[in-house]
Point group: C2
Chain length 207, copies 2
């Protein structure tokens, strides 16, 4: 196994800084010169790693998605498929956002708003990852329904929709409303939401 | 009753155009010259009505909030306090967003993201109105709990949080994911959410 080259390591460091910068200030307004001064390089020194602003933006989106995929995979491995995994994924999402210690909150919420009105490769990349995250929840909600873990008649797609919504709301309340209770409240909302769609304990024996 | 002056009418028209423009392209990047060309005036002609970019932005936020307050007041008047009003408000919210026919979707979602990292009077105005909308839902959820319309133990604040979240999610899915099913799905999620926290039909007679 070859160790990471100096160039690859440096590129990865630049991208990590760019993820933080663009979450706080917007992926669209990310500037090479601002990034160069943050990482202590010249502007051409940074540009040499990417070639274009769009290539840099796409590298930033991929790096942010890797971080999300990482904590989702951990939650996935630590839980049984179905309702338990659905809860674990939704919970991991909130825990991840809650643990973010840089300004700007959720990278994908920020980038999604930045680029929803700007057609092109960056918008498509942000949308593709967001769709993938949504699909991950959807899949487990449908499985939970098939396994009989949800009350009869529960709409699995609507449930997955609601769970993804909680993370959006928590992020908005912390970032815009400076609400310290946003994440504790989101976790209570998560439990309440799942309680509302799962079979009541008294019927558990009938499965 | 005096009729609206020519200047006031013109100002109102400029602000209405500015609301649409800034929802689609961002309240921060709203430019006087772009706005002037949209309304067919000179840049100084537009500037004369406001004096500063921040004053224009604040006028835009107030006008957008008036539109929201209008449809919320209608839903409020057409419903009984408590659970019915909570449902009517959340439903009116989705209907309003679903009916928006300009690019950019929810003004407050867009402006909230634009300004969450930009301290100042505009951020405070956006946050103040958002807090007020959230409070409106919160109030009816708490009332529904006091009226015994929710299952015992239901967390009214978490319920209101979830309902506000649905509008955020629907807006994101339409704007970023180009999902035509976003609002139908959000309405199903709304009904399912309320079904999950209301007393089951079999116990209704015990109230």
């Amino acid at each position: 196994m070859r160790s990471e080259s100096h160039g690859a390591r440096r590129r990865r460091q630049i991208v990590a800084t760019a993820v933080d910068l663009s979450t706080a200030e917007g992926l669209e307004s990310l500037s090479l010169s601002r990034l160069a001064s943050e990482v202590g390089l010249s502007k051409p020194g940074v540009a040499a790693h990417f070639g274009s602003k769009q290539a840099l933006q796409l590298a930033v989106v991929d790096a942010a998605a890797d971080a999300y995929a990482g904590f989702l995979a951990e939650a996935q491995e630590a839980s049984e498929p179905g309702l338990a995994r659905l809860r674990a994924l939704a919970r991991a999402w909130l825990d991840h956002l809650d643990g973010i210690d840089y300004r700007g909150g959720c990278f994908f919420a920020a980038a999604g708003h930045d680029f929803s009105g700007r057609p092109g490769a960056v918008r498509e990349a942000v949308a593709r990852y967001t769709r993938r995250f949504v699909h991950t929840l959807d899949e487990q909600a449908r499985l939970a329904a098939r396994l009989g873990e949800l009350r009869p008649g529960v709409d699995a797609a609507a449930l997955a929709f609601s769970l993804h919504a909680l993370a959006q709301e928590a992020n908005l309340r912390r970032e815009l409303l400076d609400d310290d209770e946003a994440f504790p409240l989101a976790r209570r909302a998560l439990d309440q939401l799942l309680d509302g769609v799962t079979s009541p304990p008294s019927k558990e024996s009938s499965r």
